[in-house]
Symmetry: C2
Subunit: 221 residues, 2 copies
DNA sequence: GTTAATTTTTAGACTAGTCTAAAAAAAGTT
DNA sequence: AACTTTTTTTAGACTAGTCTAAAAATTAAC
């Protein structure tokens, strides 16, 4: 059983998530930005992780996770999302308060613990932000027919299904305007010049910048 | 708020527990043995912790925690015991399976989390091994009239109230012989030449070496 | 297809934590 | 009081992870 440091685990997780919305290899700079560190530090770490066969890496060519690397990443994401669910469902934390704590809890080493937690929570399919929770086997059950709010068209109706979880301030803002999972919305208008989207929610009119709209996913009705 | 590494926290916890059954300062060697490390490493760490005013240290004179150091140690012990309680009460782990996992969980940084966990568990007074759980304020409610089994006298009756938690094999052995918290026992005999204690438990006769007897505490009836 | 700009890697240094080996201090013994 | 043993500290080295500054490779621009 390959034992990883917290830092190595954080790199794997970052590479995995970057790979999800990018084609091909992940560049050193891209990763450095995500990890809030310097490119030189990233290079060092990539060499090490490549040595451990968790990713493929060639000088100046970026990196990509191997299957082993992917399953490690998925195991960490599984733990992160299960712990977030625990914190919200069992300890009554708000969805804006759990990310940082889960960033620590995701590194606890014990498959047995993870699986029992999963059971204790009733095998949840999604975390408090609507993100799917990978199963024991690392498979993510695809969350069907969701689109980003930024891709919605005027006149469409939908239900809020997921939001990005990594910015506390963003989630606090969503709390303030009363947006949560399950909230129904109507797409009222879209401003062509900056991409802003205007939605109707609980009878109120709310305007989202394109940046925000990209961080919210809905199920069209 | 002073932020400590896991290693620093582990040293504080070790010094605290060693200080509980020893008078005066803790020696470098004693601590090295407890931490499964070398005396030279301990010296380095003592210098650092002294610098941070978590303990008092003078060359060749051993160390002793300051009040700040003590409350840090108590906070870690509080987390350790609350997590053990969670693992046993909520996730159905055995008392012999939780120590190692709690050693990791005790380093999670969030007072809010600790306090909410405490509430979720119903403010338990003792952990699954009978060890008292320090409160929010760091106070340990004294567990009244307990004595070590090694100090019991022949003819005495008692109830098992606590056991040492840090050796998995020891706890597995207790499981095997059917000893758990609340089990009533009679002290049948004591062998003068090696200090062994013979007890009657559930109608069976069981012999404990002095080493084992020192790791079990009872409430005399 | 050179030159310029950008990206990435290397080189060398720093902190935290550990180690071994040797020196220094303290404690025990005669 | 001097010698021996034990304990503790120092000195120097190693790994993991990070950094800055400079070199090298790649990409973009003309």
């Amino acid at each position: 059983m390959l034992r990883l440091t917290q830092s190595e685990e954080n790199y794997l997780k970052a590479i995995f998530t970057l790979s999800q919305d990018a084609e091909g290899a992940i560049s050193t700079n891209e990763l450095a930005e995500k990890m809030l560190t310097k490119a030189s530090s990233v290079t060092d770490m990539l060499k090490k992780l490549c040595e451990k066969e968790l990713l493929e890496y060639q000088k100046y060519q970026g990196c990509a996770l191997t299957n082993t690397g992917k399953s490690h990443a998925l195991a960490i994401i599984r733990k992160h999302r299960l712990w977030e669910t625990f914190l919200v469902d069992k300890l009554s934390f708000g969805w804006d308060e759990v990310h940082e704590i889960a960033e620590q809890l995701e590194h606890i080493q014990s498959t047995e613990l993870t699986d029992r937690l999963d059971e204790f929570l009733g095998f949840p399919k999604v975390d408090p932000h609507g993100e799917p929770i990978p199963g024991k086997d690392g498979r993510i059950e695809s969350v069907s027919n969701r689109i980003l709010l930024s891709e919605a068209v005027v006149g469409m109706k939908g239900i809020i299904m997921g939001v990005e979880d990594d910015q506390t301030e963003f989630l606090q803002y969503l709390n303030k305007i009363g947006l949560h999972l399950g909230t129904p919305i109507d797409i009222v208008d879209k401003l062509s010049f900056d991409g802003s989207i205007i939605v109707n929610m609980d009878g109120r009119q709310i305007q989202f910048s394109i940046t925000i709209a990209k961080q919210i996913s809905i199920k069209p009705l």
